[in-house]
Assembly symmetry: C2
Homo-oligomer: 124 residues x 2
DNA sequence: TAGGTATTTTAGTTATTGCTTAAATAATGT
DNA sequence: ACATTATTTAAGCAATAACTAAAATACCTA
């Protein structure tokens, strides 16, 4: 037992274990989702995903121009997104075009939909 | 101009500016979304959100027991989620019950749905 | 082959994050 | 008032993240 348990009215051992069991059953999915969300949870990367969703594909230079950022910084963000399976690369000559990966495209689109629809309640 | 622009076939200034303009129009929404996603993009916090979605409400102790983590660490995660407007607190005696905030509940549920349905394609 | 362009990688710096420990608050019961 | 319980806060630390600058790679064209 890592930390001292509370002695409270609600919640008994059986209840705790039930929660743990339900959690365990979805844990792989949650871990994978957390990985994608942490990638999308960066302002610059979310902008990049928005642009890719809108334009289908963009090269590193395009993104750097639009976001007015260092090419190297953009490239490093793209690498993270690619490593996370969120985007894919297609090389044409010396230009690399990035696009949303087919696998994660639905998730990304549903996330971005939330940005427009949900009237983003300001924090605090 | 922050970085040297590329001299490439696709993409001209007009195109870049068009992208920038579209981006600017959704930027407030994207920034707000990024804030929520970065909160949900942490494995522990996503587990907490899953549990809150499942059980409606839980106190700090419950979460610490289920996740087998330090009460203080849990409390600090809860604070971030509350500051971000993702959850809300209700105090009953000396126990504080946390639950998903009404405003962000739809977004959180749609995120969690992705964890079960989307057959989370493993990265790399 | 040489030079230029697009991109990636490496190294270094600074800022942020998540956790631990310990102390501080707050509410409850004696 | 005092001890107990639930939670929060503060301080410190190790790990991670994001950016800059510089060097390395890859591809194209003359």
């Amino acid at each position: 037992m890592i930390s001292s348990s509370c002695i409270r009215v609600f919640a008994d051992t059986a209840y705790i274990e039930q929660c743990q069991q339900r959690l365990a059953s979805v844990e792989p999915g949650l871990a994978a989702l957390a990985a994608v969300l942490s990638l999308a949870g960066n302002r610059v990367r979310l902008q990049m995903l928005f642009l890719l969703a809108q334009e289908q594909q963009l090269c590193v230079c395009d993104l750097a121009d639009v976001l007015q950022m260092n090419v190297s910084a953009i490239s490093q963000h793209l690498r993270k997104l690619k490593d996370g399976g969120v985007i894919q690369a297609r090389k044409v000559g010396q230009t690399v075009f990035y696009s949303l990966s087919a696998a994660q495209q639905p998730l990304i689109h549903s996330l971005l939909a939330a940005a427009s629809t949900s009237h983003a309640t300001s924090a605090r």
